[in-house]
Amino acid sequence: MGNDLYQGYKEPSLSKLKELGIKVWSDVEISTTKGKFVGVILPRSETADSEHLVLKMHNGYNVGIAVDSIISAKEIGYKEAHYKIPESEFPTSPDKPNVTLLGTGGTIASRLDYRTGAVIPAFTPGELYGAVPELADICNLKTEKLYGVFSENMGPEQYIATAEAVKREIENGVDGIVIGHGTDTMHHTAAILTFMVQDSPVPIILVGSQRSSDRPSSDAAFNLRCAAHAAACGNIAEVMVCMFGPTSDQYNLLHRGTRVRKMHSSYRSTFRTLGDIPVATCTPDKVTPLRDDYIRRDVNRKVRINTSFEERVAILYYYPNMHPDMVESLVDNGYRGIVIAGTGLGHVNKPLYEPLRKAVEQGVAVYMTVQTLWGYVQMNVYDTGRDLLDAGVVPAANMLPEVAYMKLCWALGQSRDLNKVREIMLTPINSEITEGEPHNGYIILQGGLPEVEEFLKKGMR
C-alpha cells in the first residue's frame, strides 16, 4: 500500500500530493499561478520527470501541471479506473478444431498501463474473445502464458520452455499451435523452434503485431485471426511466421521459420522470406499455398524435440578494417562458436585469417554467412575465400546469419566434435539451406521506376 496511492510520483511531487491531501484517481480542482485546472489525477509514468503531475480533464484530455505552481487543491471526487477488457466465456464447439495459444509476451489484445505508458496484453480466452470475437468462428481456443517478456529478452530458457510446451500441447492432441511473440526477434525464435521441434504433426504459427492492439488500426486482430486459421485448419505442419503480406489489410504470408527475417523497423509488412518465396498466403478463412514442397499435417506423425543449446556463440558482423582482437577476444572469453556475416560472397580482411585459424585450432566452430542476406557463400572464387577455407572457416551456404547463429547454438549444444557439428550445420532441417535460389527469391522493387510505379498504382499494397 502506501505509495500505491501515488503511483509513479517521486519527490518533490510526492510530498506535494501528500501535503495537498490528494492522490492518484482523485478528482480535483487545482489552483495554480497560471489558472484553474479540473480533472482526475493520473498515475505518473516512471520514466517521466518528477516536477509535474498529470491531470485527466473531464473532456478526456491530459495535461501536465508544474507541481511548484500549485497554490491549492480540493478533492471533489474519486474515480479509479477499472482496467477491464470486456470478457465473456469463449464459446466452444465440438465441430471446431482446438488451438492452443502460447504467450511469450507479444501483445494481441491489450490495455494501457499508465505507469510505464506500456500496453498490457489481454490474454485469457475470455479477454481475447472480448477483443477479437471472430476467433470463436475459427477454433476452440485455449491459452497458456509462458512468459511476459519483450521479444529482445527472449533467450535459451524461453526457447526451451516454449519447445517443451509445444510438445506437450501436441501430445495433448491440439490441432494447431499459435505462439504470440514480439516481432523484433520473432525470426530468431522461429528458426530455433524449427530445429528444436521436429516432425510436428500440426502447424506451429508465430504471430505478433507491428501496430499495438491499443490502436484502431492495429494489425493484431487480423494477424491473430489468420494465425488461428492457419493453425486450426491449414495443412502446413511447419514452424512458420504469420504476418502481413502487403501493408494493406488484405492477406498475410506464412513464412518458413528458417527463411524469414524482419526487414523494416515499423512497417506492417516487415517480415519477408529471403532467397525463396513464402510458403503460402493466408486470410482468416483460407490458406493458399504458393508452393507444393511443404510438410503436410499428419496426426500420426510423432513430434520429437531436441532442446540442446550452447550459449557461447556470437555473430561477428564484419566491417572493413576489423582488427584481429575482435576474434581473439571472443576466443579468450570462451566462445565456442562464431558466425561471421562476411562481405560479398563471404569475405573478411587478411589480418583476421591468422586469429580465425587459431580459433579453429582451439576447437571454435567458425561459420561464414553473407551480410548481403541474399545469395550463397562462395569462398572458392577469390583467394581471400580460399585462404579462409584453408583456415577452417566453414561456408554456411545460403543460411541467413541469424539462422546460422541459432543453428550453431543448437548444434554445439549437441556436440563438441567440430566434424559432428559441421554435419548438423550443413544438413538442412527445413530449408535453412536450399539447393538453389529461385529466380523470384530476390525481389526488392525500386520505387520511382515507371513499371514499379504502375504496379503501385494498380492495386493495394
Binding site: 495535461v63 501536465g64 479506473a81 488500426s217 501493408t247 515499423s266 512497417y267 499494397r461
Partner: protein
C-alpha cells in the same frame, strides 16, 4: 441567410451554443512528420486498404461511437501522393517529434485567447473510427485552458485550445467503401473550444467571426478554402447537445443553429406525443417482418434493384407510432428523415430513398395494394406505422436494429449525435456523439514540458489582440466594413504606420488596402511588389496634396504593371499633377459642355455625369472628383 424561418424566442427556448473552431496553421511542414503541407490535385501514386476496430480507452471502457462505427464495417481506402505523404501518414512509422514551429504558434494563440498555458503538454489520441485518420486516432494536445474573448459587454469563455493534426480528405463514401486522400493528414491546426455562452443564432455567428478574425489576424494561420472549419454545438431546454460538424463558412452558422433549435423543439414535441400515447422505452413494441416474398414482383425500382442483386426487403412495425413520421422536424424534412439518416450511415444503405413508411404511402414507390398486403401480414393497426427497408440482408438487419434504437431515442427526446451540414441550414445524421472515453494517451511520444524561457519569448512578441485593434480603430472613426477585412490583412501594420505619420482620413487608407489593392490582385496584377514603404510614400505624397485621391488606383495599377519600377515615387514623378487654376478649369468645362449642346439629356445631372466622364481622365489627380463635379454643376447652372 434564410428569410423563411419562423420567429423564435430563443431565450424562452433555452438556446445555448458552443463553438469548436478548427484553423490550420501556416507551417511549412506537417505536425508529426516532415512532409510539406499542401493539397494535391494529381492522381494518387498508390493506394492502401485498411479497417478500423474499436479499442479500449485508458479508463477501460469502449466508446459508444467506436462501437457504432465498427458496426458499419467499412473498407477504408487511402490515396497516397509521393512528396505529400510518407510512411507516417500510412501509419507504418511512429510519429516524429512534434513540429516546434506549430507548437509556438499554438501557444501564442492560446495567450491571445487569455488561456492558462499548460506546463507540460501531453499528446493524446482521440479515436476516430470513421477512417479519416489511418491510425484510427487523431494526435491532439491541450495547450491552454480557461480563456475568454470579449463580446458585447460580456466575456465568451474558452474551454481550451488544442494543437492537433488534421485528418484526411474524404473523396467518396459509397456503400461499404470509404475513400480518403492522405495529403491533408497531419497538417497542424488549432481547435478553439468555447463554452456554450452564445444565446441565439446571431450571437453564435458573430462570436464565430470574432474568433475567426482573431486567428487570421495573427498572420500565422493558413487562408483559403478548407483552412478553417467549425463544429457547432447546440442545445435547448430539455434537449441534448448536438454537434454540427465541419461547417465550412461562418455565414452558415446562423441558419444551422436556428434550424437545429427548431429540430430539437420538434423532437421534444414528438416525445411528448409518444408519451401521451402511453409508450415508454420499456413498453415500446417493434416487430420485424420479411416482405421478400410478397414484394417479389413489385414495380418499385429501388426494391427491385435490391432483390435482383440477391438482397432482401423487410419492415419494422412500430406500435402506436402512426402519424409521427410525417411530423416536420426541419424545413422540408419530416421525422422519417431521422430514421433514414441513421440507416444511411450505420447500415450503409446510402441510395436514397432508403425507407418507405405507411405515414406517407403516396410518396413511396409501393402501390396501394402492396401497402394493404404489408399491413395485413404485419397486423398494422391504424395507430401503428410500418417502415420498409431493403438491400443486402446483413445491412437490412442492421437497419431494423437502428429503427428500434432511433425509436427508443425518440422516447427520450433528442439523441446525442453529430450531424452534418447538407446545405441551406439543413443537417443530417452523421454519428453518435463520442464521449471522453475515446481519449487516451499517446504512448509513442513523451510529455513535453513548456519552459518559462519559451513562454517569455512568445509573450514578449505577442501582437495586439484583434479585438483591441478593432476597438482602437473604431475609436478613430473607422467604419466596420473597413475594420473587418483590415484586421485580418497582412498590411494592417503599415496601415497603422500611415495613419500615425500622414494627415489622411484613415477610412481612405483602409479602403485602398482592403479594396483597391485587393481588386488589383483579383484582376491579376502582381500586388506583392507594393511594399510597405511604397504605401507610406504614396500616402505621404497624397497628404501633402501632391495629387487627389482619384490618382491612387491609377498610380498603383501603373506601379504593378510597369516592367521595372524603382518605387512608387518613381511612378508619381512620371505624372504632371500640377493643379489647374479655376480659370483653366472653367475653360475646359465650358468647352466640353459646348460639345454636348446637340445631345439630349433628361436631366442636368445626367449631362453633368456625361461631361465628367469626358474630362475626368485629363484632370485625374489634379482636381478631386468632388470639386470637379461641383464645378461642372456650377457651369451648367449658368
Amino acid at each position: 441567410m434564410r428569410k423563411d424561418l419562423p420567429p423564435v424566442d430563443f431565450e424562452k427556448l433555452g438556446f445555448k451554443c458552443g463553438l469548436e473552431i478548427h484553423q490550420q496553421l501556416d507551417t511549412e511542414k506537417k505536425l508529426f512528420c516532415h512532409c510539406p503541407v499542401g493539397l494535391r490535385h494529381d492522381p494518387p501514386d498508390a493506394t492502401i486498404l485498411r479497417h478500423m476496430r474499436p479499442t479500449l480507452s485508458e479508463l477501460g471502457e469502449y466508446d459508444g461511437t467506436a462501437l457504432m462505427e465498427f458496426k458499419t464495417k467499412k473498407q477504408v481506402i487511402y490515396q497516397l501522393n509521393r512528396g505529400s505523404t510518407c510512411t507516417y501518414e500510412m501509419d507504418d512509422t511512429p510519429p516524429f517529434e512534434i513540429n516546434q514551429q506549430a507548437l509556438d504558434i499554438a501557444i501564442e494563440l492560446a495567450m491571445l485567447l487569455h488561456c492558462s498555458i499548460v506546463d507540460e503538454i501531453h499528446i493524446s489520441r482521440k479515436q476516430y473510427l470513421d477512417g479519416s485518420i489511418p491510425t484510427g486516432f487523431q494526435r491532439t494536445v491541450v495547450v491552454g485552458v480557461e480563456g475568454w474573448v470579449p463580446y458585447k459587454d460580456r466575456k465568451i469563455r474558452i474551454v481550451q485550445i488544442c494543437l492537433e493534426e488534421d485528418a484526411c480528405r474524404e473523396i467518396s463514401d459509397i456503400g461499404h467503401t470509404i475513400t480518403f486522400k492522405a495529403d491533408r493528414l497531419s497538417t497542424p491546426l488549432v481547435e478553439v473550444i468555447t463554452y456554450p455562452d452564445m444565446l441565439n443564432p446571431d450571437e453564435a455567428m458573430e462570436v464565430n467571426e470574432i474568433i475567426g478574425r482573431m486567428l487570421k489576424a495573427s498572420g500565422k494561420v493558413r487562408r483559403g478554402i478548407g483552412s478553417v472549419r467549425q463544429d457547432v454545438n447546440v442545445s435547448i431546454n430539455g434537449g441534448t447537445r448536438v454537434e454540427i460538424k465541419g461547417v465550412a463558412k461562418t455565414g452558415y452558422v446562423r441558419d444551422l443553429t436556428y434550424i437545429e433549435a427548431l429540430r430539437q423543439k420538434a423532437l421534444l414535441d414528438i416525445r411528448d406525443t409518444i408519451k401521451s400515447r402511453g409508450i415508454s422505452r420499456k413498453s415500446l413494441v417493434l416487430t420485424k417482418h420479411d416482405l421478400t416474398s410478397i414484394l417479389s414482383s413489385t414495380e418499385s425500382l429501388s426494391i427491385r434493384t435490391a432483390l435482383n442483386s440477391g438482397g432482401s426487403v423487410k419492415c419494422a412495425k412500430l406500435t402506436g407510432f402512426a402519424g409521427l413520421l410525417k411530423y416536420p422536424v426541419q424545413p422540408g424534412k419530416t421525422f422519417s428523415s431521422e430514421f433514414a439518416g441513421r440507416i444511411r450511415v450505420i447500415a450503409c444503405l446510402d441510395k436514397m430513398p432508403n425507407i418507405f413508411h405507411s405515414d406517407a404511402q403516396d410518396e413511396s414507390e409501393l402501390t396501394q395494394d402492396e401497402w394493404t398486403q404489408i399491413k395485413e401480414i404485419t397486423d398494422c393497426k391504424l395507430t401503428d406505422v410500418v417502415i420498409v427497408v431493403w438491400g443486402a440482408d446483413d445491412d437490412v438487419e442492421t437497419a431494423l436494429e437502428e429503427i428500434k434504437f432511433r425509436a427508443l431515442d425518440a422516447i427520450r427526446g433528442v439523441p446525442n449525435e453529430t450531424r452534418q451540414d447538407i446545405g441551406n441550414g439543413i443537417t443530417d445524421f452523421e454519428r453518435i456523439l463520442p464521449g471522453p472515453d475515446r481519449m487516451y494517451p499517446d504512448t509513442d511520444l513523451p510529455p513535453i514540458p513548456i519552459s518559462k524561457e519559451r513562454l517569455d519569448r512568445i509573450e514578449s512578441n505577442l501582437p495586439e489582440r484583434s479585438w483591441d485593434t478593432e476597438q482602437r480603430w473604431r475609436e478613430l472613426g473607422i467604419r466596420d466594413d473597413i475594420i473587418k477585412p483590415l484586421v485580418i490583412s497582412d498590411r494592417k501594420n503599415v496601415f497603422d504606420r500611415i495613419i500615425s505619420t500622414c494627415e489622411v482620413d484613415p477610412n481612405e487608407v483602409g479602403a485602398v488596402i482592403t479594396q483597391t489593392i485587393k481588386s488589383l490582385r483579383r484582376k491579376g496584377f502582381n500586388t506583392s511588389r507594393i511594399t510597405d514603404n511604397d504605401l507610406v510614400d504614396l500616402f505621404a505624397a497624397y497628404s501633402n496634396k501632391k495629387f487627389t485621391r482619384e490618382a491612387i488606383p491609377m498610380l498603383l495599377t501603373e506601379f504593378c504593371k510597369s516592367s521595372n519600377p524603382k518605387d512608387i515615387a518613381d511612378i508619381i514623378g512620371k505624372h504632371d499633377f500640377s493643379p489647374v487654376s479655376e480659370d483653366q478649369l472653367r475653360i475646359i468645362i465650358n468647352d466640353e459642355i459646348a460639345k454636348t449642346s446637340e445631345k439630349h439629356f433628361a436631366t442636368d445631372s445626367q449631362r453633368a455625369e456625361y461631361v465628367m466622364g469626358r474630362i475626368r481622365q485629363q484632370l485625374l489627380g489634379k482636381v478631386s472628383g468632388k470639386d470637379l463635379r461641383s464645378a461642372i454643376e456650377k457651369q451648367l447652372l449658368q
